[in-house]
């Protein structure tokens, strides 16, 4: 039971973290200046974005929950159980972030999710 609670925590926190991160980075716009001064300006701007800070919080929750999961469950359970987030995130990217996902991208996401599940054996 604890294992499935941790899986739910990893998947839920990963999905929320990625959606919020993508939303905020899209608001910021394409990063073009990779000189140290440019990177400094981007980091200063990022530090003021509330949803990005929330995204990093969710990513930290996901990271620590995954670390805990692999100490109480086999890696061969943890990786495939959490690989389902690929397909869930692709669905949410379509409906929440309004990305245009064609057949190749759907097929690719499903193949990768199946591949990750097999990789844990």
């Amino acid at each position: 039971m604890t294992n499935w609670i941790l899986v739910g925590l990893v998947v839920g926190a990963t999905v929320l973290g990625d959606l919020l991160q993508t939303f905020e980075m899209r608001q910021l716009g394409e990063i073009r200046d990779f000189r140290p001064s440019g990177i400094g300006r981007v980091l200063a701007s990022l530090a003021r974005r509330k949803y990005l800070l929330l995204a990093i919080f969710f990513m930290a929750v996901s990271f620590f929950a995954f670390m805990k999961l692999v100490t109480v469950a086999d890696l061969s359970f943890a990786v495939p159980a959490t690989a389902g987030s690929f397909v869930l995130e692709t669905i949410l990217a379509r409906f929440v972030l309004k990305e245009r996902i064609d057949g190749r991208r759907w097929a690719g996401a499903c193949l990768v999710a199946c591949g990750v599940a097999l990789l844990a054996h």
Binding site: L28, E89, R94, V112, L119
Partner: protein
């Protein structure tokens, strides 16, 4: 494909490589450092803080910070539905590193999984990295 498309594709591939390598190497050093510690991590934050004092864990965390920043930069111009499968190449790199450096056995299922991931990446990489307008 115009010059703008080519520029975005080139930049996307470069950052995807950085994301994949920093993720695979970061996880490798993190796992290596944690496995040297014999105690199992509890829910106590103190265990995690102590684990982070290990130099291999520190190196792993530094690489994972690079992973986070390069992935954020990538998401500033590429779709999430593009970034997720393409950067899954990190799983394949991790499996190869496990085979070479940790002498792990690679079963037929793992090779089949690797093949599926590579096929999935090949499909997604042929789509345009960005399908929405950025700010």
């Amino acid at each position: 494909m115009d010059a703008q498309d080519r520029r975005v594709r080139l930049k996307t591939r470069l950052f995807a490589i950085i994301v994949v390598l920093s993720s695979a190497l970061g996880n490798f050093f993190l796992t290596f450092g944690l496995k040297r510690r014999e105690s199992i991590l509890s829910f106590s934050p103190a265990d995690y803080i102590l684990a982070f004092l290990d130099p291999w864990v520190m190196l792993g965390v530094a690489l994972l910070i690079l992973w986070l920043l390069s992935r954020m930069a990538l998401l500033s111009w590429a779709d999430l539905s593009y970034v997720l499968p393409v950067t899954a190449l990190g799983y394949v790199v991790s499996a190869i590193m496990g085979r070479i450096f940790l002498r792990e056995q690679v079963s037929i299922e793992r090779w089949a999984g690797t093949l599926l991931i590579v096929l999935g990446i090949a499909l997604v990489a042929r789509t345009r990295p960005r399908t929405t307008e950025t700010a």
